[in-house]
Each structure stands twice: as C-alpha cells, then as structure tokens.
C-alpha cells in the first residue's frame, strides 16, 4: 500500500463516495482511539486540572507536561498503600509460570491427540471441546473449597498451577496446527528409530513455533486480564495482581484521583501495546485464528 500517495491517480475515477468513506473511517478511528488518548492525557495532568475534565490534551502550562507526568507516574510507582511494583511482580510471576506450563502441557496433550493412536481419542477430544463451554462461575465455588483444602488460598498457586495441566482451547488450537504438519516427517523419523518423545521434541515442537507463540501470547493476555481468579483466591494485598490492584485506586468515597488512576491504567496497558507493536502479525493472526479454527 502506498502511504501518502496521491488522492486520485490517473485511472481511478474521482469518486465523491471515496471521500465520504474516508471521512467516516477517520471519524470512527478517532472514536475508538479517544478513550485511550484521554486516559493518557488525564494521566499527565495535575490532580485539579484532571478532575475538572477541561477539554485540553496537555496540562497548563504545557511546558511543564513532562515534569507533571513524571510526578504522577512516580507517585503511582512509589505509593505505599497501592503498591504497583509489587502487583506487577506478582502478575509477572503468575504469567511466567503459567505461560511456560500452559504452552508445554498443551503441546504434549495436543501431540497425544494428533500423533499417537489409541482408543478413546475421539471421546477425549470431544470432552476437551465441551469443557470450553463451562462458565467459570460454575467452577469457582468448588475450586475455592479445593484450594482451601490444599492450603493454597492466599497464595499465587491457584492462579498458575492449573495452567500446567493444559487449557482446552489451547490444546485444540495446537492439535489443529499439528494436523497440518506432514505425517511423512514423523514417519521418516519413526523408521529411523525415533521414539514419540524424540519425534515430539525434535520435529513437532520446532515446526510449531508460531502456534506455540500464539498459545503463549493468549495465556499472557489471559493472566494480565484475569480479575475473578485473583479476586477469589487471593486474600491479602501483598499478593494482589495488577488487575485486582487497579481497583484499589477507586475510592468509595467519591474523590478518586483520576490522574493517578489513569496513570496506573496506562502503565497496565503499555506492555500489551508494546507486545502488539512488536508482534503485530502474530498477534492479529492469532486473534483471527481464535475465531476461525
């Protein structure tokens, strides 16, 4: 696509509809971006200016923007009651352990469902797909009781240990991907005397890097987003994740410090935006894969 090309080049008919269409698309794009722009704008204003909701993008005086921004963001980072760095650390622990476990275990199960012949394979595959439909609230009461029995309530374990047993959706996604890898490859390996374990490690896994990246990305996003899990399983503030910690900024009394809350929200979103910019292709393709299969 030629960015910044001429509006109407020789062969193309000068179409008034084209102009209307682009005007509409620009308006729509702005509508979608405005909330994020306003979030950042609020986060770089002093409290009183932010709270007044005046229609300005930069604080007044605009020359002090960086100074005020630094002040707000360091206030969020250094706050003693809502400890952003601690919540970030907890979220990263859950995300790292969860992503590794989820990717590995889902790949192992998907291998069993696509490459190993055994009776009952179809039934298990059906069950895996069926469990995707179970709403989490159905499981949350008994899970709470199970984790309480194990003494895990108030630890991060309920948030990452289950990931080591694979996730239904990810297993399904990887299975579909493994099915597209030509069978001749592992049959050749088999003739050379490769065991299933070696075939899995040396042939299937290296060929599946894009699909594994998608699973890792999904689980990372899931952890970053998960609110209900931490709400139920964590009991004290030291273990909070970002999603749970963010609501602590919200004041019940009605004098929320919007500039700080928006700064914290910006901080929470930015890794995801960064990840998106860096892996844009994988990202969009993976979201598309989620809906198509």
């Amino acid at each position: 696509m030629a960015m910044g090309g001429r509006r109407s080049s020789g062969g193309r008919r000068a179409d008034p509809w084209r102009f209307v269409l682009h005007a509409a698309l620009i308006a729509v794009s702005l509508m979608f971006l405005t909330p994020l722009v306003w979030m950042v704008s609020t986060s770089i204003k002093p409290e009183t200016q932010a709270a007044s909701g005046a229609l300005r993008l930069l604080p007044e005086p605009a020359g002090k923007t960086l100074e005020i921004a630094a002040e707000n963001y360091s206030a969020v980072w250094n706050d003693r009651t809502v400890q952003f760095p601690l919540y970030l650390r907890n979220t990263l622990i859950v995300a790292t352990l969860g992503v590794v476990g989820m990717t590995l275990s889902s790949a192992v199960v998907a291998y069993g469902l696509s490459r190993v012949q055994w009776r009952g394979r179809g039934v298990v595959l059906f069950l895996i797909v069926a469990t995707m439909m179970i709403p989490f609230p159905v499981l949350m009461v008994p899970l709470y009781l199970i984790f309480r029995e194990l003494g895990w309530i108030g630890t991060l374990r309920p948030l990452w240990v289950p990931a080591w047993f694979g996730g239904a959706f990810n297993i399904f996604l990887l299975r579909q991907f493994f099915m597209t890898i030509p069978r001749e490859l592992d049959e050749a390996a088999r003739i050379d005397g490769c065991s299933h374990v070696r075939t899995f490690l040396t042939i299937i896994l290296p060929l599946s890097k894009p699909a594994l990246a998608v699973v890792a990305l999904f689980h990372f996003m899931y952890v970053w987003n998960d609110f209900v899990g931490p709400l139920i399983f964590l009991s004290n503030r030291d273990q909070f994740t970002l999603a749970l910690g963010l609501q602590l900024y919200q004041s019940q009394a009605g004098n929320t410090q919007w500039n700080l809350l928006m700064a914290a929200s910006t901080l929470m979103i930015s890794p995801l935006v960064l990840l998106f910019v860096l892996t844009q292709r994988t990202f969009v393709r993976s979201v598309a894969a989620e809906g198509l299969k």
Binding site: L21, H22, L33, G53, S105, T131, V138, M268
Partner: protein
C-alpha cells in the same frame, strides 16, 4: 500417556468441581459448617427470589442488546475494511488497539469518560448543546453505557471477520458483479453466507461471555450501599452469595442453572442456525 496432563487437570479442576458443585447445590452449606442435604430447596428458593430474577433480567437484556449491536458493527467494519480501501490496515489498527486494554483498565477508563459532571463524553455532548445523562447512575443509561463499552472492543470480532472474508473466493464476487449486484448486495448475498460459520462461532463465544459478565459491572456499578440495581448481573450475585453471604449451596444451585442455560442456548443457536450457516470447507 500423552493426554494425562489434561486428564488429571480436568479431573481435578473441572470434573471434581462439577460433581462437588452438583452435590452442594442440593445442600444448605454456610461455609463454616458442613453441608446439610436439603433436596431441591435451593432451586425452589431461586424461583421466589426477586434479586435472582432481577439479575437474570439484566443479564438477558445485556446479552440480547450487546451481541447483535456488537456483531453488526463488527461485520460492517470488516466488510468495509476488507475491501480495497486505502489505509485499511491503519484503520484496522486504530479499531483493534482498544481490545488490548485489560477489562479492568477499560472499566476504569470508561468510568472516567462516563463521569456525569466532568467526564469527556458529557463534555463533548455539551459542546453540541446536549446535556448528557449521569451515565453510570441513571438507571435508564446503565445498559447503553455497557453496550457502548462492549462495542469499543469490537476490533476483536472485526479481525476475525476480516480473516474469514479474505478466504471468500474472488470468483464469487466477480460472478455477483456480472449479475449486476452492487457492493451492499454483494455483502449481503455473498460475504455473509460465506463467512456464516465464523459468525456463528463468534456469536456463541459472545453468548457464553455475556452470560457470565462480571469484572466490568463489578467495579463500575459498585456503590457504598451495594450494587446498582441495573448494574447487577448473574455471576455477580452468584459471587456475592458464595463469598459474601457464605451461602455455598445456593450459589452452587445458581451455577448449575447458569451452566444449563449456556448449554441450552448454545444448542438452540446450533439448531436454529443449521439452515442459515453455509459450510463449504471443513
């Protein structure tokens, strides 16, 4: 065996909890005391619990309004942006970006935007002389606010639909054009039928998600005196019963009703759509 991680995992974290939940749903279980069998009492209690019916009603309205609006907007945007429009990728990126926002951060941002006095939405409405409502307080505007917020995340569906539309064979469009169909009719008669499996899958996912909507209304409509009556949803009431009122039995019964509703609605959608969904590839 290769699938043992999943078998163990789902046994521990899905099957066992389901069985426990079914048993608890037949008991009176105030958390600190052992469960006491009461038969179908919990289910009968739901029938006569006004709060239960209120959250059912709110959840149903939310699903019934947000899913069609969201899907229609997603389809139209995908239809426009999958055609050869200049800068399509740039527009797509702008619309997709908000979907990266974690739900809880999105809820915070929109609480600020919808603030009755100082929020950006009402400030902008004020510019054109409209006095905006107190979105998150006024009962009439709670649902529209939630729907607007859910449409903000339409980038997700748009990307899926664009991917599906790119798989539609060009030849079909050429044939339709020869038949004298304009862009709008081509969209309705060629594109929509061809991507109907993706639409069905997306709608089912949305339905499952809408039935359990929790985090966003949980933080947006919390008031010092409890939840806003219009911003109170099924999963939230289930959570309150279990973890605030300590009624594990009643919460479990609600959970089973929720599960059956999800399965039932999915089944109905599958059957109803059988004639409308067009499968060409497997």
């Amino acid at each position: 065996m290769w699938v043992s991680p999943w078998l163990i995992g789902s046994g521990l974290f899905v099957m066992l909890p389901m069985a426990m939940s079914l048993w608890y749903s037949l008991t009176d279980y105030p958390l600190l005391e052992p469960p006491l069998f009461v038969g179908l009492d919990n289910y009968r209690r739901m029938w006569s619990d006004p709060t239960f019916w209120r959250v059912v009603n709110n959840t149903a309205v939310f699903a019934a309004v947000s899913i069609p609006v969201y899907t229609a907007v997603g389809l139209v945007l995908a239809g426009v942006l999958s055609s050869r429009v200049r800068f399509a990728r740039l527009y797509q990126a702008c619309i997709f970006l908000p979907t990266l926002t974690p739900l809880i951060a999105a809820a915070m941002v929109w609480m600020w935007l919808f603030n009755g006095e100082y929020g950006l939405v009402n400030r902008l409405l004020g510019l054109v002389g409209i006095r905006g409502p107190t979105w998150l307080v006024d009962s009439a505007w709670v649902m529209p606010a939630l729907v607007i917020m859910s449409v903000w995340g339409v980038g997700q569906a748009m990307v899926v639909y664009i991917a599906a539309m790119q798989d539609v064979p060009r030849s079909l469009y050429e044939a339709a054009e020869l038949d004298g169909m304009g862009p709008a009719r081509r969209f309705i008669h060629v594109t929509l039928p061809m991507i109907s499996p993706a639409i069905l899958f997306n709608v089912i996912s949305l339905l499952i998600a809408a039935v359990q909507v929790f985090a966003v209304p949980f933080v947006m409509f919390r008031r010092p005196d409890g939840q806003h009556p219009k911003g109170h949803f099924y999963s939230m009431y289930l959570y309150e019963n279990a973890f605030i009122y300590g009624q594990m039995g009643y919460a479990s019964a609600m959970a089973w009703v929720q599960l059956l509703v999800v399965l039932g609605l999915t089944g109905v959608l599958m059957v109803v759509s059988r004639k409308m969904v067009h499968y060409t590839r497997v």
